[in-house]
């Protein structure tokens, strides 16, 4: 059907009124040839023939005019909204601009609503994600807090248990010392009873010392203050010592004791002898203590630079649930009636870890217990270091080679008496004082061959006294003999440092070496 001319005319006039077409013809250089229609609404009025239309109509910049195109909703710099038709005609091009502002306003309003909703949705998702993160953080923080609370409760319970236990553990030997000292000082006590009293006092004092040592050791390990002192030493001799120490203890309880050292175990190793000895004493001591019948076995093997020492016993064994607990501080195996601080295995574990090793435990109730210590150690090439006997007997190593004098500065009368006893016995002449300032005066006056100096003494203190003596020109050895812990800088004031209680034999040997 062909539309009648008046309908076509009506449509044309509606279209023209709605879109206000502005048409212009440009050449291949975008220069204006001619134009048709009103340009007021689109800001292109006043354009002249031959003008480059890319100036007043910058949306033509870069646009190829050789192919037909339609671009909707172009907002011009003059803020008109146009639909642009490009209609090429040979080398020329008709550009038709139609007013699209009404349609643009309608779509913009819809688009605005949609975009705002999408933005709200994005913000909502972000808030939900943040909320989820916060809840996770909260749960994590609460769990951490619970863990810390349980840990604090455990520590508090341990502390209470420790105080109660230590009170008992300390009171028993202390009571023994006090009572036997009273007995020995009573009139009419026989010399035999006095001798027995002294032996009991000595035994109780040693027990007290060992208790103090383990508690202090645990505290030092806790504070990270323990450093390994590694050197070459005779491992075979250490293992022999252990066997010699433990076999009689086992025999006393009617237990067998066996020691087996694999032939690959090096005779001399580079490690901390004192700490390794402590580990072995702890393990073997526990094995003997908790085993009622059967025996205890010590085995040592060496493979790929790792020393493995295994202590097995035929004791009551440890249940799986108790196996972790026995390595915790103040936990004692064996139930009631056993003595000790409950720190032995804790200290053992920490020392082994300090040596970069591991402890493994294999046990079942009623089937004994096997504890293995694996530590990396280097086999040493040098010969073993001579073992130091525990008992200080006068010997070639300790007796003064010539008449020598020793100045002792210590405010603990018992300690002065003890050192005096051993030094006299080894042939040294003595000068004593309990004041460090007086020690300076006496040293400068009498020029002793060696000075033994406690640090925490009246006067200027042992460390300052040693420094003053050096400044005053005293060049002979000054040995610290103290219960105090000294820094490296403080230690440097002394020729040698001994921590109380010192091994008398070692002290005497060192005095002889220094005065030789």
């Amino acid at each position: 059907m062909d539309l009648p001319s008046h309908v076509v005319s009506k449509l044309q006039s509606e279209f023209l009124a709605e879109t206000q077409p502005f048409c212009f013809l440009i050449d291949e250089n975008y220069r204006l040839i001619d134009s048709w229609g009103s340009s007021d609404w689109c800001g292109l009025n006043g354009v002249e023939a031959d003008e480059d239309m890319r100036g007043p109509a910058p949306f033509l910049v870069g646009i190829p005019i050789t192919t037909p195109q339609k671009l909707d909703f172009i907002e011009t710099p003059g803020r008109a909204i146009v639909t642009m038709h490009l209609i090429p005609d040979d080398s020329q091009c008709y550009v038709v601009l139609l007013d699209a502002s009404k349609e643009h306003a309608y779509i913009q309003s819809k688009q605005q609503t949609v975009n705002e909703l999408r933005l709200m949705q994005a913000r909502q998702h972000k808030l939900i994600a943040r909320q989820r993160d916060l809840i996770s953080e909260l749960v994590e923080a609460k769990s951490e807090l619970d863990h810390h609370r349980r840990e604090a409760e455990r520590i508090s319970a341990n502390k209470s248990r420790f105080i109660a236990m230590m009170s008992h553990e300390f009171r028993t030997p202390l009571a023994s010392i006090i009572n036997y000292a009273e007995l020995a000082s009573e009139e009419g006590t026989s010399s035999n009873d006095i001798q027995k009293s002294i032996e009991t006092i000595s035994r109780s004092a040693k027990h007290l010392t060992s208790l103090v040592e383990v508690v202090l050791d645990d505290a030092s390990l806790d504070a990270g203050q323990v450093e390994l002192i590694e050197r070459d030493f005779d491992l075979a001799s250490l293992l022999d010592d252990m066997a010699a120490m433990m076999a009689p203890m086992a025999a006393e309880k009617g237990l067998s004791f066996a020691a087996a050292v694999d032939e690959d175990v090096p005779k001399t190793i580079y490690a901390d002898e004192v700490r390794l000895r402590q580990i072995l004493i702890n393990l073997l001591g526990n094995a003997v203590k908790f085993t009622v019948e059967g025996g205890v076995k010590l085995m040592a093997t060496y493979n790929d630079g790792r020393l493995v020492v295994t202590v097995s016993d035929t004791g009551p064994g440890i249940s799986i649930e108790d196996q972790e607990r026995v390595f915790q501080a103040f936990e004692r195996g064996g139930g009631r009636g056993e003595t000790g601080a409950g720190l032995g295995l804790t200290i053992t574990l920490r020392l082994v870890e300090l040596m970069h090793g591991e402890v493994s435990l294999d046990s079942m109730p009623g089937e004994g217990c096997t504890v293995s210590v694996h530590v990396p150690v280097m086999a040493a090439d040098d010969g073993p270091t001579a073992a130091v006997p525990v008992l200080p007997l006068p010997s070639e190593d300790t007796i003064a080679a010539k008449p020598l004098s020793v100045l002792i500065c210590d405010d603990d009368e018992d300690m002065v008496n003890l050192v005096e006893h051993y030094l006299h016995r080894s042939g040294y002449g003595l000068i004593t004082t309990s004041d460090s300032s007086e020690a300076i005066a006496k040293t400068l006056k009498f020029d002793p061959d060696i000075v033994l100096m406690d640090c925490n003494v009246p006067g200027v203190g042992g460390v300052v006294a040693a420094k003053v003596l050096r400044e005053q020109g005293y060049a002979k050895p000054i040995v610290a003999l103290t219960a105090s812990k000294l820094s490296d800088e403080q230690k440097s004031a002394f020729t040698r440092f001994f921590r109380k209680p010192a091994q008398m034999q070692e002290l005497l040997t060192e005095i002889k070496r220094l005065t030789h």
């Binding site: 890319r54 910058p58 949306f59 910049v61 870069g62 646009i63 190829p64 195109q69 339609k70 671009l71 909707d72 909703f73 172009i74 907002e75 011009t76 710099p77 909204i81 643009h104 779509i107 913009q108 688009q111 605005q112 975009n115 705002e116 999408r118 933005l119 994005a122 972000k126």
Partner: protein, 174 residues
């Protein structure tokens, strides 16, 4: 001074601040009100490069935001000499949109000079693009900026850099 005129297109996801970036660059103004763009808005601004003896007139086509272009939007880009990609630093998903659009454009029209503006850096509490991510973007796009149309931070610097890249590209072409 030699006059040079180039068409550059600003593209990116919706509501990332494309129109605000152009408004800051052209009129040095900013409006808090969000008004979505339909179609394309055209503005012009001249930048002088005394060292190159060039006055560079940029005809800026601010194209309606989208995460993927259809044929109508692709038609707007025809004849562009460079692109300003804009993402929203508080909505990392808009960086993905930029990546998609860049691939579409490169596939249709080939490589062209471009800069990336990670916008809304003034919204520090909501900022969600880590330094590591931004460094990776700098490596990918060559020229990436943390911008704020609100404060004007780095907007002019970023677009001036694009104008410079277009001149360098033209010189290489000649």
């Amino acid at each position: 001074m030699t006059p040079v005129t180039s068409k550059v297109c600003v593209v990116g996801d919706f509501a990332v601040g494309k129109t605000s970036v152009v408004e800051r660059f052209v009129t040095n103004q900013f409006s808090e009100k969000y008004l979505s763009t339909v179609g394309v808005k055209i503005d012009t601004k001249e930048i002088e490069f005394p060292a190159l003896a060039v006055t560079h007139k940029l005809v800026i086509w601010d194209v309606a935001g989208s995460e993927k272009f259809g044929p109508a939007e692709m038609a707007y880009l025809r004849g562009a000499s460079g692109y300003i990609f804009v993402a929203d630093g508080t909505r990392p998903a808009t960086l993905k949109a930029v990546e998609r659009l860049q691939n579409q454009i490169t596939e249709a029209y080939g490589l062209a000079p471009a800069v990336l503006l990670v916008n809304k850096r003034d919204l520090t509490a909501d900022w969600d693009v880590s330094d590591e991510r931004f460094d990776a973007l700098t490596t990918n796009y060559g020229n990436a900026y943390r911008t704020s149309a609100k404060t004007g931070d780095d907007v002019e610097r970023a677009i001036a850099r694009l104008a410079e890249l277009i001149i360098e590209n033209d010189m290489r072409g000649k």
